[in-house]
């Protein structure tokens, strides 16, 4: 079976569990015999924390985990300065110049000051990892998951074309940006948004979807994270939310039953609000997936549980 997407870009507002979902998605994609790379940028070491391994540093990829299904997940922390030096070496055989550039502060200059270049270099490294398979290079991956910047900046970040267009009108960086843009717009790339069913993350998701639409980059799935499922219908929830219901749990005192009813009223109201936000996301007309809230926090077992939920809902393989 051929995978439908080889590059999965995962974005989401801060605090929505974007990195956890990116890690879980990598595990879900790593079925029998498959090699999956998960990349992070901006040096936050969230991926290594998630997989409980020492921080990923330097330009090399490291094995993070072998999935129960028999696949392997690798990790890479993309650093703009490493990427520039590698870029110089690959395209110009300038590894010595790279070191000299570093000494002169030119690498810092180029990656920090030249607007857009940093983003081109970061996505460029991801591009290179994806292209290995197409070019039959060693260490190629069946899929690459990119733990991308948060929703507030994602459209600008992925629109590398626009970022360099105003400046580098010609030259290799422009060519590189054009190639990256072709990959990002191709049918094998998808951007997934992670959100909570809260007002702000949903609003940011709506805005990011709107911002991404003109770029011709495909949006994959909107992943509703930390959802508490309920067997109750809307009427029952509304009744509970009023706080006027009398709960009669045998074994609890009247006072305890009252405290339980008060607490449940808040929970029910929250669930109703979540349903409204779910409706807003449904209106986007995109595939939705739900990941259940885990009150015990995130550990290795929890990541695999999330991976299973994603496998069930995201149609990760071609039909």
């Amino acid at each position: 079976m051929t995978p439908r997407h080889t590059l999965h870009i995962v974005s989401g507002k801060g605090g929505t569990g974007k990195t956890t979902i990116a890690g879980a998605l990598a595990c879900a994609l790593a079925t029998s015999g498959r090699r999956v790379l998960v990349c992070e940028v901006e040096g936050r070491h969230g991926i290594s924390e998630l997989f409980d391994v020492p921080p990923l540093t330097g330009p090399t990829e490291r094995r993070l985990s072998r999935t129960p299904a028999g696949g392997t997940v690798f990790g890479l922390s993309v650093d703009a300065e490493d990427a520039l030096i590698e870029y110089l070496d690959t395209f110009y055989h300038l590894s010595i110049a790279g070191k000299a550039l570093d000494r002169f502060g030119a690498v810092d200059f180029a990656t920090s000051i030249a607007p857009g270049l940093r983003d081109v270099l970061l996505t460029g490294k991801v591009y290179e990892a994806v292209r290995r398979r197409i070019k039959n290079r060693p260490n190629s991956y069946d899929a690459v998951v990119f733990d991308a910047p948060p929703t507030g900046r994602i459209a600008q970040f992925l629109n590398v074309h626009a970022a360099v267009a105003g400046l580098a009108k010609v030259g290799p960086i422009r060519n590189q940006a054009d190639s990256i843009m072709r990959l990002l717009r191709s049918a094998t790339t998808a951007v997934h948004f992670v959100t909570l069913l809260e007002d702000m993350p949903v609003t940011e998701t709506e805005e990011a979807v709107a911002a991404l639409r003109p770029t011709q980059i495909r949006i994959g799935t909107v992943i509703e994270n930390m959802v508490t499922p309920t067997p109750l219908d809307r009427d029952q929830l509304q009744t509970a939310a009023t706080g006027s219901i009398a709960l009669k749990v045998p074994g609890l005192t009247i006072k305890q039953n009252q405290a339980l009813a008060d607490e449940f009223a808040i929970e029910a109201a929250r669930t109703l609000q979540q349903e409204q936000r779910h409706d807003r996301l449904t209106a986007l007309g995109l595939p939705l997936a739900q990941v259940a809230f885990d009150p015990g926090g995130i550990d290795e077992g929890a990541i695999l549980t999330i991976a299973d939920q994603l496998t069930d809902q995201m149609s990760l393989e071609a039909a």
Partner: protein, 387 residues
């Protein structure tokens, strides 16, 4: 699953209380900086402190970096922009006032250029392609301009007494340290060796290095294209006179932030990631000798019902299959909530045992979003409440 927040056997230490009212009440406190990772409620915390300060008699201005329309809404001002707007809906009985503004980094940068150069030079800079990109896209510019704006607000406060307390909501930084590093980073870049050589390739002792430099310069031209290098050169020539001022103001603001007139609050939620970032902030601020007051932990879950999750689930099981569907669901949700509370207190205990001297205040998880002044007042009260 972590090494950052190590667990110790006797974790339940008494944590010092972060007294927000005392900070607000101290007239020597002139700047409060709220920092923390994205999504922990920094903007809400800043606004709640600003409202509480203003209603306690301080003349407050709150500077937010997030384009949070909801904040503008909750304060009752239509749109926030680069100029402080008065918030008229607060209670001014104690003699205080509140202004709110949202940082527009491009406008702030433009204003600096206009204020510190001749009209012709300013025009040349503002129209330079490289400047346009630098002022609107460069990721460090936001942090840098936040510092510039803070310096301006402080100068205005000192000169005219327009306000006596500035509350700053820091940018959602790429890395937790950007806010502190940005001024030094940008000014050292603008003032750096590479740029100087780009401008004056063969001057002084640098002459000997010219051969090496021309190779580098050629490489940079290759990568970036000749256009960008020439734009940068034009920009830097026009901008050169402003460098000194930038550096000076950044240094002055940094000193102000290190002084006893400033204080930092680290905002977090009781989750692993947020606390890990908070630990990073706390350690960095401590290392730099910055005045850290303590931690605000937002969205802490609580329950008025002490029934354990195990008991709640067993009660739910007894009722399963009966008509008591609401009871079953209520018990199941209570069990979940109690598990969350257990996980959160474990996280917070680990944090406190690794950093026992860091004061804390907790704000409990609220049933609804904070979208109006009443809710901001409630958050302010919870912030100041010791329990």
């Amino acid at each position: 699953m972590t090494t950052a927040l190590e667990s110790r056997p006797h974790a339940a230490l008494p944590v010092p209380f972060l007294d927000v009212d005392k900070i607000i009440g101290d007239r020597e406190t002139k700047i409060i900086i709220c920092c923390g990772s994205g999504g922990v409620g920094k903007t809400t915390t800043s606004a709640a402190i600003a409202v509480r300060g203003a209603e306690a008699g301080r003349k407050v201005v709150v500077l937010t970096i997030d384009p949070a329309r909801r904040l503008a809404q909750s304060l009752g001002v239509g749109e926030l922009d680069n100029t402080p707007r008065p918030v008229t809906t607060i209670d001014t009985a104690a003699g205080g006032s509140l202004h709110a503004m949202m940082l527009d980094m491009k406008r702030t940068f433009d204003d600096v250029v206009i204020a510190h150069s001749t009209p012709e030079k300013a025009d040349a800079i503002l129209q330079n392609q490289f400047y346009v990109a630098l002022s609107s896209q460069f990721s460090g510019t936001q942090e840098y301009m936040a510092m510039e704006k803070l310096g301006q607000l402080h100068a205005e406060a000192e000169a005219h007494g327009t306000w006596d307390l500035i509350v700053v909501d820091t940018p959602p930084a790429r890395s937790a340290l950007d806010f502190l590093d940005a001024p030094e980073h940008l000014s050292s870049l603008l003032d750096g060796r590479f740029l100087r050589m780009l401008l004056h390739p063969a001057r002084g002792p640098m002459r000997l290095m010219t051969t090496g430099f021309s190779m580098i310069s050629a490489a940079m031209t290759k990568i970036l294209g000749a256009q960008i290098i020439s734009d940068v050169q034009t920009f830097v020539r026009a901008f050169e006179a402003l460098f000194g001022g930038f550096r000076q103001r950044a240094t002055a603001t940094f000193e102000l932030l290190s002084s006893r007139h400033s204080t930092f609050l680290v905002v977090a939620t009781p989750q692993h990631d947020a606390l890990r970032e908070a630990a990073y902030f706390v350690d960095r601020l401590t290392e730099e000798g910055m005045p850290l007051s303590g931690m605000v932990i937002n969205r802490v879950h609580t329950s008025a019902l002490a029934t354990s999750p195990e008991r709640a689930l067993s009660l739910a099981e007894d009722l399963a299959g009966t008509s008591a569907v609401l009871e079953v669901e209520a018990l199941r949700r209570h069990a979940n909530l109690m598990r969350v509370i257990e996980t959160e207190s474990r996280m917070m205990e680990r944090f406190a045992s690794a950093r026992p001297t860091v004061a804390q205040t907790q704000v409990q998880s609220l049933p609804t979003d904070v979208t109006d002044l009443t809710a901001l007042r409630l958050v302010g009260a919870l912030l100041s409440d010791k329990d």
